[in-house]
Subunit: 410 residues, 2 copies
């Protein structure tokens, strides 16, 4: 673990005049706060002896049953007995890595991949091997080649970590056809899959995608979270695991935190039982779609030639690739000086990749701020291009390094 | 990690006809639940955008300042910048062990010691070496002998783990004179101290004891918790650490859970800012003192000759030693059949000790239930003594083994 440069950056980003396209915080103010407050107040007053007391290490049973109903929306048929409630999906990642990974073991991850997962893998000294993705998500042929190569090299692959739907940071989604292929390739190589799915219900078109877990219950460990569909401050996530893994997870969770908070868990339970949560998710989706549109429109209109970006169909993020010779990490302080922030791509690679990339998030700022942010960013990029044309470009040969996530860039 | 026998036992203990003297759950129903509910409801309605959002990995700054005020009651002068908020003190224990302990390293712990700590030490493959205690707490001469021996053996001692005040499970408190000696011995041997102090404010007589941390800020890592002074279901604890350790703790916490729950943290912050928390702790103390008295009176009146027990001046627990030839672990199922439960002593030893011991807790049952529980327990012990006299006693040579804690036996 090393002190993160991103941390220092984020102190500056907190200034109100800066438009932050960096953070991954959901827009929780869109919740009906009065109704939620009343609900929670009555819950504590009426059931305080349970709400304020220790619970079981596995998590509240009724909540685990409700979680199964939520997962059913993406085709997952799981038993409440195989669900473990965790302190956000981050804790699930930590426990899974603790259980499976010995130092030097290989973990496969998309290139780019979620920074918080990379931080956890690094903490357990996993050797992260990236597999490229494109607009259709993880590329099956690349996965197969990587697994073949690692097998020839005699390396131990512990699992494939993937965010198949509305990926963080790339904003892309694994196609239906590829889902079947990924499952098949992992079955052939007998590799576990850790499917991290915090954004699956936040799609802007059509029905939710079918989760990988829906079609291979024995191979897939599924991570879910209420951070984006209800509220991140509750820190309630979960893992659905094959039965033998679940038992190990409960013991590891017990050792790590004794038990998750009943206060948070029963607030979620009550919310799911008494509030119109499906309608609220629909409202979130519509709000985020409007913000996604604002960002893509602004990028289309304002970004200089040579920049490309993904077009997310859900979730929080757009992944931008800068023209050759530009360095998004070196540019970040200059962007902040010009009052716009993003996350440099290097944080999402364990191998030094991502120097030409930026993650832009549209989840938190309102649409007019998103447009203003992109306007400022486009001007910064234009200046960088002029500098490159005058003084020559940057060579991308240095290591990028893994940063610990920082709650600001979830 | 092995499946815990205690877990199976606890399923039976949940039956209402059983008097449980096993659990370590605080009596949270003594809180003014209506007032707390109203406070939390208004907090969510009024500050939902903060309460329901991600926070920093280190924890809320105002809460950390308030934690310093709480610690000052036991003589601790700490800076909010050196406090890390954790998911109960259990997470602090986990993070400290993760940072300091490599497999095979020695951790010193009282004999007996807190089961949840032993579970965590086992998870990181620490070699726990016990140091005996008596009614005055950890015995300084025994600590010195143990450290001298380990030094001769060339063993690496990573830290001394101790619950100096109202110890779990023994109910004893380290005397003031011994506190100075323990600090001196650890300084001589350059050994860190992890001081776990969840019960310090729950003393039944006089002023709070002065924490070890108060007299050696550089050597002592201090763990605190609101589980017993406010409510266990919030899962808010903390660690106050020397500055260099604090930085490592924040990174480890970030990797493990991203950040602690703002929902829980700001509920505690609001409670400390707006509710009469000192008066509430006083009310808790008086309630627990009445229960302690009920237990000690009943033990004095009812327990057969040959049994001995500690006389706690605060906290939740009495530690009973059975006559020679009896086995508290073997007796536990028979006690449950006779509708009384306790925790067998073996759970509190990493080395097979504690076969003649039971932990009795008086924190949760009301006084008349405590008396009834002790009455049943005394009858069970009498039967065991008769069996021993008829068939001979048990030889205590088998290993006791470490159990993971189970939230029921905090």
């Amino acid at each position: 673990m090393v002190p993160s440069e991103i941390r220092a950056l984020f102190a500056m980003v907190a200034r109100p005049e800066v438009v932050s396209l960096a953070g991954g915080a959901p827009y929780v103010s869109a919740l009906p706060l009065d109704a939620v407050g009343t609900m929670i107040g009555e819950l504590v007053a009426g059931k305080g002896a349970e709400v304020l007391q220790y619970g079981s290490a596995q998590g509240d049973e009724t909540l685990r049953e409700l979680i199964c109903e939520v997962m059913a929306l993406e085709g997952v048929q799981g038993s409440a007995d195989d669900v473990v409630v965790t302190v956000g999906a981050q804790q699930a990642l930590d426990l899974i890595t603790k259980i499976f990974v010995d130092p030097g073991d290989v973990v496969l991850a998309e290139a780019p991949s979620y920074v918080g997962a990379l931080g956890t893998f690094a903490a357990y000294q996993a050797d992260v091997v990236h597999v490229p993705l494109d607009e259709g998500g993880l590329i099956p042929s690349a996965l197969r080649e990587t697994l073949d190569r690692l097998r020839r090299e005699g390396r131990r692959v512990k699992f494939l970590y993937t965010v198949p739907t509305f990926q963080n940071p790339a904003g892309v989604t694994l196609t239906t056809a590829r889902r079947a292929q990924i499952l098949e390739i992992c079955a052939e190589h007998d590799v576990l899959i850790v499917e991290d799915n915090p954004y699956g219900l936040l799609g802007f078109e059509g029905e939710p995608m079918r989760a990988l877990r829906a079609d291979d219950p024995d191979r897939v460990i599924y991570l879910g979270s209420f951070s984006k569909t209800i509220a991140s401050g509750l820190r309630v996530g979960w893992v659905l695991a094959p039965h033998a893994v679940r038992a190990k997870l409960v013991l590891a969770a017990e050792s790590a935190i004794l038990c998750p908070s009943n206060f948070s868990q029963l607030a979620v339970r009550e919310y799911l039982l008494t509030q119109p949560w499906r309608e609220q998710i629909k409202a979130f989706r519509e709000m985020y779609r409007e913000r996604r549109d604002a960002m893509l429109d602004a990028l289309d209109q304002l970004m200089p030639d040579g920049c490309t970006w993904t077009r997310p169909a859900g979730g929080f993020f757009v992944w931008v690739t800068l023209p050759e010779g530009l360095d998004a990490k070196a540019m970040a302080p200059r962007a902040i000086a010009d009052r716009v922030a993003y996350v440099p791509g290097t944080g999402f690679y364990a191998d030094g990749g991502g120097r030409r990339n930026m993650r832009l998030s549209y989840c938190f700022p309102e649409p007019h701020r998103i447009r203003e942010g992109v306007r400022r960013l486009a001007a910064v990029v234009e200046k960088e291009i002029r500098l490159r044309d005058t003084f020559g470009g940057v060579e991308h040969d240095g290591p990028g390094g893994v940063h610990t996530p920082g709650p600001g860039i979830v």
